[in-house]
Amino acid sequence: MNENGHESTHRAIERVARESYGRLVAYLSSHTRDVASAEDALSNALVAALTAWPRDGVPQNPEAWLLTAARRSFIDLVRHRQVAEASEPTLQLLREEREMMSAAEFPDDRLKLLFVCAHPAIDSSMHTPLMLQTVLGLDAARIAHAFLVSPTTMGQRLVRAKTKIRDGGIQFEVPQERELPQRLDAVLEAIYAAFGIGWDDMAGIDQSGRELAEEAIWLGRVLLQLMPREAEVRGLLALMLHCEARRPARRGPEGRYIPLSEQDSQQWSLPLIEEAEFHLAEASGRGRTGRFQLEAAIQSVHAERARSGRTEWPAILLFYEQLIRISPTIGTRTGYAAAVAEAIGPEAGLAILDAIDLESVSGYQPYWAVRAHLLQRLAKTSEAADAFDRAIGLAEDPAVRQFLLQRRG
């Protein structure tokens, strides 16, 4: 086969892997809870595809091919690991193989897998890494970069979490109505965390950061497909799309950081804004307001500037007041203070910041950046310089650091 043929085969494998990875892992592990073996089996199948497909051509139904190869490898792996006891789940999988001739019918268990990844028995800091690995197939090293953890440590933590899933009695199931809201929150949080990391990660400059945000949006879309009636799922997707729409405007020439208020709204992506608005409208029709819908609503008001040329701060303030009632995090309170400063005045905004316990913001960069900005507006020069220093010292993104250094003067 010529070079081009090889290339298109590789692309086909990549595409199938991306689209089917989570479905195959979810399906293979849902009976046995053995996520690690499912992943190993799938990578064996992908390796086999790399040899077979260029030789024999891409099969008619690539996903079915992968499923068959992965299922065989999985049974081998599980048998190997559980030596004597031919476990019931393994036998079940064998039975299904006989019963199910067409792989197109295999059930989509990704929703169960998402709930497993964000299970309360698993350390919450591992929810997002687990999702990125098991549903999207990201490798531990890449996840480690994004989470600023050593690759070895991230690898070990992922292994530990998967062992817990297998041996800790965590069930592959969609939670009951009663506990659904709380459990769903954990799933949404984990997806949003992936987006936030991709967003902060030198967005627009560093390719890996950008991709992680895209992966998070992909996860959001998968979740919406699986739970189309949950308003907060749409709220989260709308929030991410609104932020994503502004990506081209966030950096100037030479990667200069441009704050939201100074962005050229004509550079915002209209199709993404429209899609976000659609989901937000759909969500609000369902009558259950939540944190993500409110955050998306705030972004929606900002997006309005592309049409009207101005920002309706009083509207933003109203949404923040609701948001603070249900989610009084440091981030929300800092954002609220900034909104108050715009809608009412810098003194009022500063008063909100003053009410936040200093201990809790010692490492929270946005608090210091907002504080510096408000003090500067109030012409409290030396206090402003102190706050700027804290914000600069806590900044990770060199472009943000540079921006603040210039503002500090």
Binding site: T153, R390, G393, R408
Partner: protein, 121 residues
């Protein structure tokens, strides 16, 4: 736990030390140092003189070998160190990422080895 941040700096960073102190790199360091001290994690630290001022000594087969300059001949050179007290490696990595040298050079995080010190004290 105590960690050392070993700060490897590019040649330009060493040159920046000769500026009047208003350059962005020095400004970023001033702010970083302040944030680190105010967080309570900072224990000690110092910049090192430029690499050319180093003299490297080793004994090979009983013979002294003295070399002008630093031990490793690479572009980025050890430019300073900071000792911090923090609950975990994760927290130390956060401070490494915020360090102004991490975007122009590299910052290595190493736990201190108190047990090795006790063996000789």
């Amino acid at each position: 736990m105590q960690f050392a941040l070993l700060i490897y700096e590019a040649p330009e960073a060493f040159v920046a030390r000769k500026s009047d102190g208003t350059d962005p790199y020095t400004g970023a360091w001033r702010a970083y140092h302040k944030a680190l001290v105010e967080s309570g994690a900072y224990l000690a630290g110092d910049p090192l003189e430029v690499p050319e001022t180093g003299t490297t000594v080793r004994l090979k087969e009983g013979k002294r070998r003295v070399q002008d300059g630093p031990f490793a001949d690479t572009k980025e050179q050890l430019g300073g160190f900071i000792i911090m007290e923090l609950p975990s490696l994760d927290a130390a990595l956060d401070w490494a990422a915020r360090c102004p040298a991490s975007s122009t050079g590299a910052v290595e995080v190493r736990p201190l080895a108190p047990a090795a010190k006790h063996r000789i004290m």
